[in-house]
Structures are given as structure tokens and as C-alpha cells.
């Protein structure tokens, strides 16, 4: 019997040598005359174990990792094809506590199936949601999404049902669905994992969104830094066309949906939805003022559903298992699960899908295992480069949208980046301003000039040049940027800056931050 070995093709695994591991397994199997079927999968999200090789061992999958090509011979020697014991062995994947303690809802398939295989997708419940949605009217689809309590997973957490309803109600003969796959926040990679590990789920979600508002065209706007996701999406879309999930007549329903991937070109700002639309239209990625909302006037001026990848990828499950099933997860107004991503200076970096309610400390210590360097974790930035730095005193905050805004932080896309106690928080504040200056589209004044001046002001503070005057100026500047900027780049960059200053004033040589007229 041919043994099945699973080696991820996820780009994180590839960055750790998964390609050569897969080759080595094939070679070694050939040499030994043991028939092996190497299946390429997405990642389980336990990146500290990548490349994580799994084998089919009687109903469960035995895990070995991190495997280097040089380990392969010894794995064969240990009989890993039958789940044999080895120093790199972890037993059944599902039993690894990091994994066992998750609620894998959206990521149920990721790391398990071959993302290029439509059969794998269908075998695991794929396209059942679509089949159900095809029997519903647009309003019913939108109602279902509303009932599920799904909120935008891109960061703003806007109720998805309302967004879809706005696009449904906007009169137009042409509408669009756009997936925001411009996942540019440091510390986030869940979109990439979905696209690399379960692309049909995104495609299915987009088709459902198309059915909801009678949009017949969709685009995935993908950042150019994700070539593997691009490749996987292109293959999956081609397959979906071949099997009439996409095209002029979806599964014989008479409904049409077409889907393309378009690449960004190295502009963080294009993760902002209006800049994304400009970019998709082939223009400079400049922020558009709102109103009008994209749901009313989006791509080429037409009503457009524009959602983050995970948001759209959540739809198939909602339609497969019902709104109530999804809504059952979570707490308060944060329903369902969120794929948290823990990274930075952390022992067990990876993806943790959990219902809302887990605390930051749980994520850092229970899952993450504390810092990689073994030193105390001093600060965690949650929600990407525009997210606040959170000090240890707030690690007990539940990972929930409302709880986070309560401490003037944001959950964003669910990424948490840990820093140990060697971090210089004034340098991190400077970095935030510098990042803003690098990535500002240049439209609004507070961001265009303010971010550059912000770097200069922090430099003066760090150089102790009129420190108190410049600290006051930094307070005023962050206030202006927070309240005066056109979009979330300039408008949120005060979060890392001010939080760093407020929680770690010593790094700025600041004595009393209360005097500083900080915006929060």
C-alpha cells in the first residue's frame, strides 16, 4: 500500500525548506522502494514546527517536525510512514496541545487538504454552502450573513451583513465583489494561509457574495509579496472554471460569476479599501473620501462588496452549517472565531483560531510559550503596524473588539507581535512614524507632512533636544493625525506612538505623560 505523506507548500514552510524535505522524502522512498505519495498541503499554523511532515497513520496523522532534508533518512529508519517514534515526532497532530486547544472552524481544512485538489475540497464539505446559497434569494443570503453576526475580519470589524445589504440595496445593473488580499500588516498571515491552504473556500465565499447582490464579477486584490498565494489562487480559479463553479452558468443555475486575481505593487496603503479600489482601477492608490461608501459606489463607481479574505472565506461555512452554528462561537458582539496570529519574539509562533474571548496572555503564554529569547515579554503590538503596544499589565485583556477598544487598542486582523524587554519603545514609536511616512499615499496633510515631521520630532526627543517641548509637540501631532487624517493610516499611526509613550514613558525620557495633551 502506498503511504501518504503530507508536506506543506505553505510559504512559511517553504521558507524553512519544505521543498527540499518533500524532494528528500520522494528520493528516499524511491531509494528504499517504499511507495510514497507526497501530498502537498497548507500549513497547520504551528510554524515553529515547520516543515511539519505528517503521515497517515491509521485514522490520525502523525506529526514530525521541524524536519530538515537531512532528517529524512532517519525518519524512514524510524518507520515514520507507519507513525514510528522519532525524536522529531509529536504524535497525532490533533493531540498537540497548541492545536487541540483551538476551534478550527474557518481553518478546518487548512493543512489537511491539498489546496489544489477540488476533490479534497468537495470531500470536506466544500461548495455545500454555495449549493444552499444558490437556492436563496439575494435578500435571504444577506439576512443569513447578518444573522451569523460575522464582522469584517480586516480590522474595522464592520458588520458584514450591513455592508452586503448596502450593496444589495444600491441600484445598479453592474456590481462587484472584491476580496482584499492585501494583507500588509506585520504579524498577520492568516489570509495568506487561507489562500495557500484552502483557496476554494475564498472562491466559494466570493461566489456567494456575488449571488447575494447579483454581482457577476469579482476580483481578488492580492499583494505582490505573496507569489505562492498567487499561484495557488490561479490554479484554483482555473479549476473552478473547469467545473462550472465559476463562469456564465454556475452549476447550471443560470447565474454567472467571474473571478480574477489582480496583483498590488508594493503599497501598504492599498490595503485600505478605497485605495485598493483605485489601485484595482489601475491608478495610484490614493484614498477616496467617504461617502460614498464602496458598497454604494466602489469599483468603477459601481456598488461593490469589498471584504477581507477571512471574512469572505467565512461565508461558505455559514451557508453550509447555518448562521446559528457560526454565531454560537464568540462573545458579546464578537461572534464566530478569529484566527489569531502570534509572532515576533515568541517561542511558538503561529496561527490560533479561537472563538473571541481568549485573553492576550493566553495567546502569548499558553499558545506562544513566552518569548523566544526567554526574556520577559515587555510589549505586544496587536493589530498590525497601526495597532497599539500593550504592556504586560494589560495582557489579561480578552481578545475581543470591544474589550480592545476599551483599552485604546485594536484587535485589527488578529495579529500579535511580541517584544522582549530589550525593546526600545521610542525606537518603535519612531519606526511607526517612519512606516507611516514610507507608506503614506500623500493625500492628506496630517499624514503626508505629519508623519515625516513625527519622525523628526521623535528623533529630537531621543537626542534630548528640547525634549519636553518636542514631547508636547508629539502629543499635538498625534492628536492632529488621529482626528484629522483622511484614512486609517495617518489616523491610526498615533496608536503605536501614543501607546508606546504612555506605557513606556521611560524610553522617551518623559517624566509625566499626563502633561502632554496626548489624544488618549
Amino acid at each position: 500500500m502506498t503511504a501518504r505523506v503530507f508536506v506543506p507548500r505553505d510559504s512559511g514552510a517553504l521558507a524553512m525548506g519544505a521543498e527540499s524535505v518533500a524532494a528528500a522524502i520522494r528520493d528516499e522512498a524511491g531509494r528504499r522502494g517504499e511507495p510514497v505519495d507526497v501530498v502537498r498541503t497548507g500549513s497547520r499554523g504551528m510554524y515553529w514546527l515547520e516543515p511539519l511532515v505528517e503521515v497517515d497513520a491509521g485514522g490520525s496523522r502523525a506529526a514530525y517536525g521541524p524536519v530538515a532534508a537531512s532528517d529524512v533518512a532517519s525518519l524512514f529508519d524510524a518507520g515514520f510512514l507507519a507513525g514510528g517514534a522519532h525524536a522529531l515526532g509529536h504524535g497525532p497532530v490533533e493531540a498537540i496541545p497548541y492545536f487541540a486547544n483551538q476551534e478550527r472552524v474557518t481553518f478546518a481544512r487548512v493543512g489537511i487538504v491539498d489546496p489544489w485538489s477540488l476533490d479534497d475540497y468537495l470531500d470536506t464539505g466544500g461548495f455545500k454552502g454555495l449549493a444552499n446559497a444558490l437556492s436563496m434569494g439575494g435578500a435571504e443570503i444577506v439576512d443569513t450573513v447578518t444573522e451569523s453576526g460575522l464582522r469584517g475580519r480586516g480590522g474595522a470589524a464592520f458588520p458584514t451583513g450591513i455592508k452586503w445589504k448596502t450593496a444589495l440595496d444600491a441600484p445598479s445593473d453592474v456590481k462587484y465583489v472584491v476580496a482584499n488580499a492585501d494583507e500588509g500588516d506585520s504579524g498577520t498571515f492568516s489570509d495568506r494561509m487561507v489562500m495557500e491552504g484552502d483557496p476554494f473556500m475564498l472562491i466559494e465565499g466570493m461566489i456567494i457574495a456575488g449571488l447575494a447582490i447579483d454581482a457577476r464579477e469579482g476580483y481578488i486584490y492580492l499583494r505582490s509579496e505573496y507569489p505562492h498565494a498567487h499561484e495557488t489562487l490561479r490554479r484554483a480559479i482555473a479549476t473552478a472554471y473547469d467545473h462550472a463553479y465559476l463562469g456564465d452558468d454556475i452549476l447550471g443555475s443560470g447565474r454567472a460569476f467571474h473571478l480574477d486575481v489582480r496583483l498590488g505593487a508594493g503599497a501598504y496603503i492599498c490595503g485600505e479599501e478605497t485605495a485598493l479600489l483605485e489601485s484595482l482601477e489601475g491608478k495610484r492608490g490614493m484614498i477616496r473620501p467617504r461617502p460614498p461608501l464602496p458598497a454604494v459606489s466602489g469599483l468603477w463607481g459601481r456598488p461593490t462588496i469589498l471584504n477581507n479574505v477571512i471574512t469572505l472565506a467565512s461565508a461558505p461555512l455559514i451557508f453550509e452549517k447555518g448562521a446559528a452554528y457560526y454565531k454560537d462561537y464568540g462573545m458579546g458582539r464578537s461572534r464566530g472565531t478569529l484566527p489569531f496570529q502570534v509572532s515576533g519574539n515568541i517561542r511558538r509562533g503561529g496561527l490560533v483560531e479561537k472563538a473571541f474571548g481568549l485573553t492576550l496572555g493566553d495567546l502569548l503564554y499558553d499558545f506562544g510559550g513566552g518569548s523566544r529569547t526567554g526574556r520577559p515579554i515587555r510589549a505586544v503590538q496587536v493589530g498590525g503596524p497601526l495597532g497599539a503596544y500593550i504592556p504586560e499589565s494589560q495582557f489579561d485583556t480578552p481578545l475581543d473588539y470591544e474589550a480592545f477598544s476599551g483599552i485604546r487598542a485594536m484587535l485589527g486582523h488578529g495579529g500579535a507581535v511580541a517584544f522582549d524587554d530589550t525593546v526600545d519603545m521610542a525606537a518603535m514609536a519612531r519606526f511607526a512614524m517612519d512606516f507611516c511616512a514610507e507608506e503614506s499615499c500623500g493625500k492628506c496633510t496630517p499624514c503626508r507632512i505629519g508623519s515625516t515631521r513625527g519622525v523628526e520630532v521623535i528623533d529630537r526627543i531621543r537626542a534630548d533636544a528640547d525634549r519636553s517641548g518636542n514631547l508636547r509637540l508629539l502629543g499635538d501631532l498625534t492628536d492632529l493625525m488621529l482626528y484629522g487624517s483622511l484614512c486609517g493610516l495617518g489616523g491610526l499611526i498615533p496608536y503605536p506612538v501614543v501607546s508606546a509613550l504612555k506605557h513606556f514613558p521611560e524610553d522617551f525620557g518623559a517624566e509625566d505623560v499626563k502633561e502632554l495633551n496626548l489624544p488618549f
Binding site: D185, S186, G187, L263, A267, R284, G285, G349, V417
Partner: protein, 165 residues
């Protein structure tokens, strides 16, 4: 000094790439970015001299195309080294010492960010986030991402990524 013959050849090639790209698109609107990607992939950059031809094909002005080229960090009007070394400087990588990795890369290559080695083999650039944060620090060399890169290992990785002329 612009060389009209070279410019004409380049423009012809750019037009060919533009047409080939347009064929792959269902909606020709918004074709500019895909076309610029195709040109850059083939020609290593988007020479200013091809911008008028691209503009003409898409019925845009050259000002518009130029504005787009200069907006996006990916696009450049001058070619880079044969292999590009991207050091991620986003927060997660910083948390694990990407600054030291960057310094090591600079020292190895003898250039600063945006610099190209004298032999044209490498250009060093910074990047914000490769999506490999759980395996920081990350470096991308010639399109291949490497995780958990230590300052000591970066030189070897770079050399392994050296592309032939």
C-alpha cells in the same frame, strides 16, 4: 543621452507585453498594473522611454502612467541587480533582530538599502512584511523567502541566491 533605436525596440517590446497582458484580462479596464508587472518582469524595470507607448495603448496620458509607476514601490524605472535581497524590517522581524540581519547583509554586499553591488549581481532593499512573521526574521532573496535568518547566516544565503549574468 536617449538612444532612439533602443527606445523604439523597448517600446515595441513593451507594447507586445501590454497586448499579451490585455489578452489575459477579461476586462481591459485597470490593465495598467498588470501590464507594468509584465513589463517589469520581462525587462527588469519600466524604462521611462516605454511609458508613452504604454499610455497610448491604454488611452491614458503618459503623466498618468508615470504617476502610477512612481507611486508603487515595486515599480522602478531603472533596473536592479540580477538578484534582489529584501530584508524584512516590519515589527515582527524587528522583534527578533532584523536590524542586525540588515546590517550583516549590508556588510556582506557592501551597499546600503536601495544600493546595487558593483557587479550588478545584487540590490539590497527593505520590505515591510513578507507574511512569514511566525518565522521572523525573514529575508527574501531572488523571490525565495527564508525564515529564522540569523545575521551570521545571511551572507551564505545571499551567495546561494546569486543569479548568473
Amino acid at each position: 543621452m536617449p538612444d532612439p533605436d533602443t527606445d523604439a525596440t523597448r517600446s515595441a517590446l513593451a507594447l507586445k507585453l501590454a497586448d499579451a497582458t490585455l489578452e489575459t484580462l477579461r476586462d481591459p479596464r485597470g490593465a495598467l498594473l498588470p501590464i507594468l508587472h509584465a513589463i517589469q518582469e520581462e525587462m527588469g524595470c519600466i524604462p521611462e522611454s516605454v511609458i508613452p507607448a504604454v499610455a497610448e495603448r491604454l488611452n491614458l496620458t503618459r503623466a498618468e502612467v508615470y504617476g502610477v509607476v512612481t507611486f508603487y514601490a515595486d515599480f522602478r524605472t531603472e533596473p536592479l541587480g540580477r538578484s534582489v535581497v529584501h530584508v524584512c524590517l516590519a515589527e515582527s522581524c524587528q522583534a527578533l533582530g532584523s536590524a542586525a540581519v540588515a546590517d550583516a547583509a549590508k556588510a556582506h554586499l557592501g551597499v546600503d538599502f536601495e544600493g546595487t553591488t558593483a557587479d550588478g549581481a545584487f540590490t539590497l532593499r527593505k520590505v515591510y512584511c513578507l507574511g512569514n512573521c511566525a518565522l521572523s526574521p525573514s529575508v527574501m532573496i531572488g523571490g525565495d523567502v527564508h525564515g529564522r535568518v540569523s545575521p551570521g547566516a545571511v551572507g551564505e544565503l545571499i551567495e546561494a541566491g546569486r543569479a548568473g549574468p
